[in-house]
């Protein structure tokens, strides 16, 4: 594609941890190719230590993000959708390269990703109503249940659907106040890297979303065993890996989301992905009569 006389810019992308773009601690990278096998760019191959750093960053961001008002979180998700739409052409080209789909189809997938963000943004201040309740009790107390975020969620993004699938797993985790460490699709990480650039410029506090590129098989076990991770979303893990990760996750009773069968990312998602990473806090308060 390079015009004669112009040097090609050969890109080697970095990770996205704590709002910054560091290289992998290991110094490793790997070549990313299109669906036709053409070289696209180099992506960092994250190591377990990058995963560890990402978990610390997510933990650090958790009090601020979970303490923000639901309205504020919703606004930030809208802002991400805006920024994502502003880069529509770049995302469409990356999706077309990665999935080998037509430009029109790729554009539709990007639009679907924007719509998905807007859809989840709208839920930010409504999910609490659905999951909270005032419970009748036999005593002079108010008894109130409210939904609380679980904490740090490790997400293995699906290998297919490099943008729509990715957005569909990140948005429901963060809209309720969790922070996350995401292992992007190993096959097609470029839309994830561009999404990181979008996130970095859209008012999302650093550390709420941390994106790692590399091998899920290498990173997922470390994240699943990490004692400071509260939940894992194993959507992108092949069965064998998912079973191993689920066993590791049991050590500190992490919440595990492992969808059965293939997920249709174009269908309306429902609220299950949000409720999977919510916990219920119930308080008793004296009525005072």
């Amino acid at each position: 594609m390079t015009e004669p006389g112009r040097l090609a810019v050969r890109k080697t992308y970095k990770l996205y941890i704590g709002g910054a773009f560091p290289r992998s601690e290991s110094g490793r990278s790997y070549a990313v190719t299109s669906s036709k096998g053409d070289f696209l760019a180099n992506a960092a191959r994250a190591s377990r230590k990058d995963a560890r750093d990402a978990v610390s960053a997510a933990r650090k961001a958790f009090p601020g993000w979970s303490g923000a008002t639901a309205y504020n979180r919703g606004q930030i998700l809208y802002r991400i959708a805006e920024m994502l739409e502003g880069r529509r052409a770049q995302f469409a080209a990356e999706v077309a390269d990665a999935d080998g789909v037509s430009a029109r189809k790729a554009g539709e997938l990007v639009d679907a990703a924007v719509d998905r963000l807007v859809w989840y943004a709208g839920w930010s201040d409504k999910i609490g109503v659905l999951r909270g309740s005032a419970n009748p009790v036999a005593g002079p107390y108010f008894n109130l249940s409210s939904a609380e975020p679980t904490g740090v969620v490790a997400v293995v993004a699906p290998p297919m659907g490099p943008l729509l699938g990715l957005v569909s797993v990140i948005a429901p985790v963060i809209v309720t106040g969790n922070t996350c460490v995401v292992v992007a699709s190993e096959r097609a990480p470029l839309p994830a890297i561009t999404l990181a650039e979008v996130l970095a410029t859209s008012d999302l506090p650093g550390g709420v979303v941390n994106l790692l590129t590399g091998r899920a098989a290498e990173l997922a076990p470390w994240l699943s065993a990490h004692m400071d991770v509260n939940a894992v979303d194993l959507t992108g893990c092949p069965d064998e890996l998912a079973v191993a990760c689920e066993k590791d996750a049991a050590e500190n009773l992490k919440r595990v989301l492992r969808p059965a069968g293939k997920v249709d990312w174009l269908a309306e998602p429902g609220i299950e992905r949000m409720t999977a990473f919510l916990e219920t806090k119930t308080v008793w308060h004296p009525i005072g009569v």
Partner: protein, 321 residues
């Protein structure tokens, strides 16, 4: 060293003599010290060596709480942690000491009993040191009477920076005298806090180290933890060189304690490497090297658990500081 040709007792006889000695010390090569500290910080300590370094670092910690909001309850909880840093694992060594304000010494002594963990108390109008000598001595005597094994005093930085070395020397000597128990048990050890963050240059750090050692310090300590920057590797390097040269010149061994800002296992191991390479392995002992810290212990315990279990540990499973 050439500076030691004058007998040291004479050196302290007047301000002029002290000035001649301290300003006669060779200057510190700032860039060289920074580089050497940075270079030693890149040493890779892994597996069994790391496991030993972690246990050694735990046993060197002065577990510290110096907040206005300290309570007797908090000190009791900290003492329990000092004796058994990880209640789930009896193989973890106990820390070297706890460090508290003078009014909480009694509480700490009671809580620690015969555990072997020592009680250190800050004194002398900590952290600024801005009070009369009488008040400082009284402060020290109060902590010693309450049972403190170690006294962490601050020097008068104002006097030091304006060149009144004699005043600083006399204050240290007076506090040292107040540390004595007159035959009723072991004298309290004196740690002298230089507050290197306020001394401006490495040359001053070297001079203050020598001044403190001449005046009778058993330990020299970098910082109060209330001033930024607190302990740094190059400053500790300069102080370690000072204690090494002081032993070579006088035969007396003095300890070093960096304090403040040491939060991770990686930092702690860098300090241990620095000690070994600068002062020598004689100082790799809780009697001669301490780390003033509080949150560091949890990180050390987390690393220890990571090495034992193979998975990353989380702070939820350790006590709060």
């Amino acid at each position: 060293m050439s500076t030691l040709t004058t007998p040291l007792a004479e050196a302290a006889s007047s301000n002029a003599a002290l000035r001649a000695l301290l300003h006669g010390l060779p200057g510190v090569d700032r860039v060289g010290a920074d580089q050497r500290a940075a270079m030693l910080g890149t040493r890779s300590i892994k597996t069994t060596a790391k496991a030993r370094a972690i246990d050694l670092a735990i046993s060197m910690v002065d577990l510290t709480t110096l907040e206005g909001a300290d309570t007797r309850g908090k000190v009791r909880a900290m003492c329990a942690k000092a004796v058994r840093p990880d209640p789930g694992d009896p193989s973890v060594p106990k820390v070297a000491a706890v460090c508290v304000y003078p009014d909480l010494v009694e509480q700490a002594v009671q809580a620690l009993g015969r555990s072997g963990v020592r009680v250190a108390s800050v004194a002398t109008a900590f952290p600024s040191g801005r009070s009369s000598l009488g008040v400082k001595v009284e402060d020290t005597a109060f902590a010693v009477a309450a049972g403190a094994h170690e006294i962490d005093m601050v020097i008068d930085r104002g006097a030091f920076l304006s060149g009144d070395y004699r005043k600083v020397y006399e204050e240290i000597a007076a506090v040292k005298a107040a540390c004595a128990r007159d035959g009723e048990g072991e004298d309290a050890h004196l740690k002298v806090i230089l507050e290197t963050g306020e001394l401006a240059t490495y040359d001053n750090v070297r001079r203050a180290s020598w001044l403190a050692m001449l005046a009778g310090a058993d330990f020299i300590k970098t910082s109060t933890g209330k001033v930024s920057p607190a302990a740094t590797l190059p400053v500790t390097l300069v102080m370690l060189e000072a204690v090494r040269d002081f032993r070579a010149g006088t035969g007396r061994m003095v300890g070093v304690k960096p304090a403040g800002g040491i939060r991770t296992t990686k930092d702690a191991i860098k300090y241990l490497v620095l000690v070994n390479e600068t002062a020598g392995p004689d100082w790799l002992d809780p009697a001669w090297f301490r780390l003033g810290a509080s949150s560091l212990v949890n990180d050390l315990l987390m690393q220890r658990q990571k090495m034992a279990t193979g998975r990353y540990a989380g702070p939820d499973y350790f006590t709060l500081d």
